[in-house]
């Protein structure tokens, strides 16, 4: 699956078919520091993401990285 990161904007490929919190752990991102966006929706960390999903991890801190 594709993960869009910000500041600077970039994309990484990671394994899907698991929970968002597992993806965050692999990328070493604290859940408190990002919004997880899929399409036009926010999703919670316990949700499953599929291999063909794209999610954006938007830092909530102005100037924060994700």
């Amino acid at each position: 699956m594709k993960v869009v990161l910000r500041n600077p904007r970039r994309e990484v490929e990671v394994a899907g078919n698991r929970r968002v919190k597992d993806v965050l752990r692999e990328l070493d991102i604290i859940p408190e520091t990002v919004l997880v966006i899929r399409g036009d929706d926010l999703i919670t960390a316990d949700q499953h993401v599929k291999d063909d999903d794209t999610i954006e991890l938007r830092p909530v801190m102005s100037g924060g990285r994700a």
Binding site: E32, L35, L42, I43, T44, V60, M61
Partner: protein, 300 residues
Amino acid sequence: MKCRKCGDAAVIELRRHNAAFCAPDFQEFFRNQVREAIRKHKMFTKDEPVLVAVSGGKDSLALWDVLIDEGYRTTGLYLDLGIFDYSVASRGKCEAFAARRNVPLLIKRVEEEVGAPVPVIKQVTRRPPCSGCGLSKRYLMNRVALDEGMPVVATGHNLDDEAATLFGSVMHWRTEALPRQSPALASTHPKLVRRVKPLYRLSERETAAFAFLRRIDYIVEECPFAVGATSIAHKDILNRMEDAAPGAKHNFLFGFLDKARPAFERVEAVTLVECARCGQVTTGTLCAFCKLSDQVKRSL
């Protein structure tokens, strides 16, 4: 995960509240937190005009959005810092928001008021850019409010901002800064307007989620000068603590406000006088803004 209120699918989990909410119930939770802040600290009434300081970021635009919907009489104030493309983009976000919501927006340029934009102020003073910038913003917010006959300025400071500022002050034991840190500072002089922070009960992640769900178009990129700022490092540390113990930021800030701040307030009483040059409030002969402005003009 299910919404605590209605049982629908949740879009956000708030670990410190041991809760999760669907989009409509989260927005109601958010508005309730703002209502509670305004009520508890008697920030302003619906009869008073409120100057809302907006930067184009998520916090200040989310605040303005809530206050408009709550029926407050608001005017936005955007301070153009002259920081290259960042200022152009952030000003555009504020103008678009004001046009969409059909609310008045005042714009002041730091270059006109101080004599130079923030990047030049940084070079002239040889101090961190946030120093001259913050000073100019606080001064101009107060002066514009006085000029416009508005008794109160509201800013978008959130729980994370306040906890990080407190953390920085405590790390250096800046005891003179502690009594000034409050969700609401009363007017203690005829030329000092009330300053309030209606988002202080809401975390940065909550304001970002609210702005996203309300489809507010805000600037995600931060000021180029904020890169490496100490406040961002402090926020990182606090977020690691929050991850290990949800509620850590809240307890740190609210514990200070409830238990410690009154003690520092008694110790650090100051006398306010009017600046000999501009007439704004200061503790010395010339205010810091006039000194900065002099320094800038001498060097140009």
